[in-house]
Amino acid sequence: MQEEIYRTKSASIAQCELTDSFLLTFDQEEIQFKLCDLFAFRKRIMAFDIMELLESSAPDVEVVHLPHCDRFLLLSLREILQFRELLNGTFDTLALNSAIQKILRKNVFNF
């Protein structure tokens, strides 16, 4: 069972409730992440210095390795920015869900 967490024009992230994992759909591909892998991916995407990339004369493509599935993503600056939006939206939604669930948990022992 999958629940969509966040969607942008080019990608989306859903969570799988059976496996406690996340599914990134991007460029007609699907990549599965455990939460710790998703955190690591976010860390890598957020670590790019956008200003430095804008001013650089090097090719406008960055390589991101995903060790948990041994894949490489070749990302343009535009795609890095889109991933930032996707991951920020995803983690904000997860945090909001956590806050809601915390309130709901108070009713678990409602006696």
């Binding site: 969570q15 939460l35 710790c36 955190f39 869900n97």
Partner: protein, 175 residues
């Protein structure tokens, strides 16, 4: 919707970062104490060297305790790089001055973590850090008492011999 974030990522990023910083500090302290032990050892201050070898092991244990805590909470524990330690000192007293400085810096850092735990209402980590707060009271006490021995005994050769006789006997007994 299932709360996967809460199930698998117990601590806030800010708490994880500050504990990883502490892991690095403990690793650096362990290395720094080894440098102090080496200085004492080659100059014939065998008991002082043993004191610092033990301290180095203690700091390593602190580092691992923090490291395991992050792993247990399914958070990223970062194995730290350790920078250069100071190896040159003018006297045995200066070595122990450095040890006290270290302990005070570690205490400040531990208290800062407790402050952050309170800021983010992280009761579990605050409780976990209580052991470190107590440990630092002991560590600072021992470092301070060692320095006070220099005030009492002086720093001539006979006094340094007496210092060596006493250094391994310093213990903290909470009132």
């Amino acid at each position: 919707m299932k709360d996967i974030l809460r199930r698998h990522h117990v601590l806030k990023d800010e708490i994880v970062d500050i504990i990883n910083r502490q892991i690095k500090m403990e690793a650096h302290s362990s290395a720094a104490y080894l440098a102090l032990a080496a200085w004492c050892d080659v100059r014939g201050y065998d008991n002082s060297a043993e004191f610092f070898f033990k301290q180095s092991e203690e700091e390593r244990k602190h580092q691992l305790k923090l490291f395991h805590y992050l792993c247990d909470m399914e958070c990223d524990a970062v194995s730290p790089t350790v920078g250069e330690s100071q190896h040159d000192f003018g006297s045995l007293r200066e070595v122990f001055e450095k040890a006290l400085e270290h302990e005070i810096a570690v205490s400040d850092s531990i208290h800062e973590i407790v402050g952050e735990c309170r800021k983010y209402n992280d009761i579990a980590t605050e409780e976990f850090m209580r052991w470190f707060v107590q440990e630092q009271i002991e560590e600072e006490y021992i470092a301070r008492r060692a320095l006070e021995l220099f005030d009492v005994l002086g720093e001539d050769k006979i006094a340094l011999g007496m210092f060596e006789e006493r250094i391994l006997g310093i213990e903290y007994e909470p009132g």
